[in-house]
Symmetry: C2
Subunit: 344 residues, 2 copies
């Protein structure tokens, strides 16, 4: 009995330790991964036999020891939307007996790559990720998937087909209803402060903006469209350009609330009357938008719904771990909603 | 060699187990702590010799495998102060090649205990913790200390003597200068919305409040003092009680900005003119306080200074791991500053 118990406890980690290789390498070797040298594969198989390692131990996800810990990588925890999603996820996971480990990529792709390694070696049972604005190659997540660790992407998600579950807000519709609302309240000259087009978020919100403009046959001025990091300073700079020109916009759609707040403050300083001379709509329903005077019209993204859907999806993946790489293709979309306040 | 290796691995935990004492007691005994009985000290030294325990083992932190990962436990990442501290810590650690894993206790002591286990088994090299409001026994952190993993507490820190480094804001002075400012601007009837007295934060801010009141010989009304969870709803309820009474306060000091915002909104709704009829001062310099109209006077806690000091201290501890259990007694205090705005 004692002996059998010992056999059952031997994991990839034990093989890794014995051979002074990373667990990821052991896993790849056992899976006959093409990037692993034949010599290494043979060493791993020998050590696996010697330690009594049994492939079946790993039945559900190549690993026998579940840690009941889920890892999460997010650009910045201080962003209101992410902080809310994280809180909902953590409360949801807790009901199922799972804990959450949170890491910030600081919007750095190198950091994001490193964090996937750290979370893998921390032996998380699953990973949730909102990617950096610069993440266009998602292959650093593959090693988790290959280790049977489900990955759920949310918000900032792979643009290419990826063998992972995707949960996102309806950004196209968000851009569309925001712009339509400006048009319906009388705007004819609409500017758009958007994020980098490398990200699905700003591609989709921009497409929604353009669709509404086209439907209402309004002209789109290229110098009224900004694709930039959505910081307070950048939004002020964009406003300066917009209001230094001969023809000024009468409507502004910003892809986050920080930019909307910066625009409102700029307008206040310059004596531009909001909403009479300029209507402003932001994105995310950050609490600051309801505290500022005038309160800012914005798009609600329902972070709690996003968080709940992530937990629900993740629990299904963990229950049916065999299908990790299948139920992947169709993204799950969370509806958005216009919150009308005093700037429109 | 094999034998020697085994000897080197004997730690305080082994001595603790052999003597059925807590690791904290063993550590104190080895450090000749005055609170440990002489008999215990002698037992510990004997067992240490018997097990071949060597003080020098602590040199590198008792563990050979460094992960270059630091764990952090915080009540809630969405609190502005903590989000800022975390960002500074992460940027600081990165310069030294360390990554940060963040966990939320959600202000639950059970969760905090569980997270110390998780971070220990994730093999973090060090731990940073801001405790829950209900953490009065800190023994769940001992197992990290006794594994040679330095622990730095900040903000919400142990009230009792603890063998870990403590970094905190000058909460006594914060409470004192906030209250003194209200008095200097003419307030005679000052209310205080504070947090639970189980926490060092609210003990110290309350002591500062009382000191200023006493110095100026102002009466302290017990029904104008609230010790409660510092939520928006609780602050509204406190305001309702304060302004339902025959004699109303003319000054209000709240121990966080959420309560100050709730109080300002309540005053606005009831037609109480701020600052003419009621002066309000909050705590933390949350960005919302400068966005709201009128902008709220508050106490700046310099989260970036707190974060920098945490990193600096942690790096010293990691470099000189011999002294993990020594440089512990005097807390490091970060100054605070009054930010005067329109509510006073």
């Amino acid at each position: 009995m004692a002996n059998q118990k010992k056999v059952q406890q031997n994991t990839i980690l034990d093989i890794a330790e014995a051979l002074k290789l990373s667990p990821a390498t052991i896993s790849r070797a056992l899976n006959d991964h093409p990037h692993v040298k034949e010599k290494t594969k043979s060493d791993v198989l020998k050590m696996a036999a010697q330690l009594g390692y049994r492939r079946n131990n790993m039945a559900s996800g190549l690993r026998s020891n579940k840690t009941h810990t889920v890892g999460l990588i997010v650009p910045r925890i201080s962003m209101f939307f992410h902080a809310e999603v994280i809180t909902t996820i953590q409360n949801g996971l807790q009901k199922y007996g799972y804990n959450l480990i949170i890491c910030q990529s600081n919007d750095s792709l190198d950091m994001e790559k490193e964090l996937t390694e750290i979370l893998l070696s921390s032996r998380v049972d699953a990973l949730i990720a909102a990617c950096t604005l610069g993440t266009t190659d998602f292959s650093h997540f593959d090693k988790l998937l290959q280790n049977g660790i489900p990955v759920v992407f949310y918000d900032r998600v792979p643009l290419t087909e990826q063998q992972a579950t995707i949960i996102k807000g309806d950004d196209f519709r968000g851009g569309y209803i925001a712009t339509s609302h400006l048009i319906e309240t009388g705007c004819k000259r609409i500017a758009h402060i958007s994020g980098p087009l490398t990200s699905n978020l700003y591609q989709d919100r921009s497409a929604g903006f353009l669709k509404a403009m086209e439907q209402h046959k309004l002209p789109v001025h290229q110098n009224w469209i900004f694709h930039q990091e959505l910081t307070h300073a950048n939004a002020r700079e964009a406003m300066r350009k917009l209001f230094d020109a001969d023809v000024m916009p009468d409507g502004l759609f910003t892809d986050n609330d920080t930019s909307a707040i910066a625009a409102l403050e700029f307008a206040r300083e310059k004596g531009i009357v909001v909403p009479a001379e300029l209507k402003i709509i932001g994105y995310s329903n950050d609490p600051r938008t309801s505290i500022i005077t005038p309160a800012i019209t914005t798009i609600e993204q329902f972070p709690d719904e996003v968080g709940k859907k992530i937990v629900e999806t993740l629990m299904n993946l963990l229950k049916n771990a065999t299908n990790v790489t299948n139920e992947t293709i169709v993204p799950i979309t969370i509806p958005v909603q216009l919150i009308r306040r005093m700037t429109t």
